[in-house]
Assembly symmetry: C2
Amino acid sequence: MLDTVIIGAGFAGLSAARTLMNEGRGNFVVLEARDRVGGRTKAGKIGDIPVDLGGMWMAPTQTRLKSLAAHYNVQAYPTYLDGNAIFRIGTRERQGPREDPSRLLGIAGGLAYLFAKWKLERPMARLDTNQPWAHPQAKELDATTVETWIARNVYHPLARAAFRTICNSLLCAEPSQVSLLFFLHYVKSGGGLDVLISADAGGAQNLMFHGGVHQISRFMADEIGDRLHLNAPVMVIEWHDRGVTVHSEVGTFSARSAIIAISPTLMHRITFLPTLPQPKVAVHEHLFMGSSIKFWVLYKTPFWREMGLNGTILRDDTAITPVMDVSPPDQKNGLLVGFFDANRAINNADLSVEGRRAIVLEMLVEHFGPEASEPLDYVDHDWTDEVWSGGCYGAYAPPGVFTPYGQTLRATIGPLHWAGTETSPQWTGYIEGAIQSGERAAREIL
Amino acid sequence: MLDTVIIGAGFAGLSAARTLMNEGRGNFVVLEARDRVGGRTKAGKIGDIPVDLGGMWMAPTQTRLKSLAAHYNVQAYPTYLDGNAIFRIGTRERQGPREDPSRLLGIAGGLAYLFAKWKLERPMARLDTNQPWAHPQAKELDATTVETWIARNVYHPLARAAFRTICNSLLCAEPSQVSLLFFLHYVKSGGGLDVLISADAGGAQNLMFHGGVHQISRFMADEIGDRLHLNAPVMVIEWHDRGVTVHSEVGTFSARSAIIAISPTLMHRITFLPTLPQPKVAVHEHLFMGSSIKFWVLYKTPFWREMGLNGTILRDDTAITPVMDVSPPDQKNGLLVGFFDANRAINNADLSVEGRRAIVLEMLVEHFGPEASEPLDYVDHDWTDEVWSGGCYGAYAPPGVFTPYGQTLRATIGPLHWAGTETSPQWTGYIEGAIQSGERAAREIL
């Protein structure tokens, strides 16, 4: 009889396993449905450069990820920001340093943005990310979409476009689809809007890793050794007061407890016996995964820098936003990363890779000139297509879900403990949230 | 090689089959996952009286259902309405004839209700239920929850409670969860709010069937004969220009076309090869089924009628609403039907039947006196528990789904035709919508 069965070998499950090992509680197995670890992080390659097809960035305040990176000696480097970003709403194009909304949105637009941000921060101040559903205005905030809030509180079209783009980019969902309460929770859990949208020092898009963040998951997996089973989807979890019996493709495991470290939106693939309480089932059924296609474009050099540009493109009139320059500083090559997010991911998912490449290059040529039409390589990855993720970056709540059922996300049920970035009150939706959730779930059974 | 494979033997699939037969195109099979036909209608019994555990009522304007009932000689009888309904918001109780909001809500509440209804009808007038996503304000309406609309447009607490209860009862969902555009579409498809909330002449809760509406599905199934396969879940549909190959638990069927007549929320159980276009997948993934537990209580007599009551109870402070008197006129017994809807269904689904019975009887005793504590029988049915329905009565759209993806609900994809009440521009969510959708899908391939 095992102490624990951990389900899922993303950063959450691996962190749970590592925490148990460090406490001398190594009597567990980790069951992973895929043929790889890492969950929503994934190894890719463009040219000869290893890249992250999924989660990638680290904010300097993400202490657990930082500590893991240091432990495994994976080095970080910053997103390139010298020079001007391109910001276009409709046909109106501006350039400016990336972190200054008044330059990017104009004076009136910048003021409208700052005023709206202040209005967003007022209800956020009273929100406890450990229990957003307990907010004094929880019901009202949760009955409102982010789009309704934008339409009523942002008094300038450029600033409205900025907020919509922010929602698209943070959650890979449309503002019309997302609960305002959930949005406030998500933003606060990462330290506020300024942090989440920033690639500058302190921002959530500030640092990347040489060789990719996905390496860290493989280093963790190496330590776990043969306790980790790949290609091991779990079909059934029987649970009772004394423990669990987990039926998977690679066999049946009995244990005193289980840590379930998968996306809540994948939970319907596991049959629980007895069935879970209905409010718990409801939260799994009613959260959605974001939709994202991430692409990489490799050039011989970062030639846009010579034009005074930093490679960042933020637009609301194309399928693609944002684009950023993430060229590794030890390489001569220029490397851009970008995203088809939310509805634009769904609407371009049926294209061939060549079709999406053409869309991307057309936009890059528009801003960077004909040199952009001949990259060394183009790679993309559609996360809505990954059966065992079901989307990226994380799950979001439509209106009317978090208030009635949110508290079931993380609450232990008998021998069942719940991890995954969606359960984290800190950095929910990020790798950091996944790590913290796995460590917390492990501590629950220590 | 068959002409058609019909998937699902609810009213939609059966109506498609019947239409094909009537046109001399009987070369088809019907594959049904369950061990019974009828879908979200289902035979039950309380005492010796056969009842409908699911869909039950008919509006006089539901021409296709009316015609089927006449064809199979199933007789209808009206909901009992003589006397007063009980309407309670908080601790404030009123009695009045069921169809008069000014009596039930008070003068101010009634006026607020009528004014709000008028405001709802204005955008509804411009909505085409064949293409609600083409409404001139579609994006704005679809970015708004019904609750946001109520909070801003209904100027009296009793009237607000009435609209919330209406949303609960029509969609088995909370107003905070439902897109306003979808709500307008749903209401208009059934002929407007007055029709949908009414049990009076012309209303959607006006008529029931002796022996139950579910009988009609069995009569239809009898005509289809051994072309109908029960216990035949479909796992895979391969599709291409020339037709389909459908892999089910009872074998593989090749045909020129398929009519898929299941709830959109169950579509993820079928693997399509090649995968469906992503906007189509998105609509399936982003619609939710309502949550409903339907209960029946049988008494020796309808004793509440002697108290001047018609058995109708509408409240917003209990788990249960509404309750109605549906005693068959050819019986001495008193028969009440009622619902745990929306969050109240989810929050009471984990109780035992005895637990729910106690909640129901406690409320009935409160209104009808101690005689209500001793029914001859109590029966209930939790539709969230029916694996092959996934909820009741129908699917609803949260915000931001119908505008971008709604048009994929009904659109033919190569050899794949889509039926089910959710695809119907008339009486969507009702049995009538299911019948019309099946007939329409059959006509597409004639």
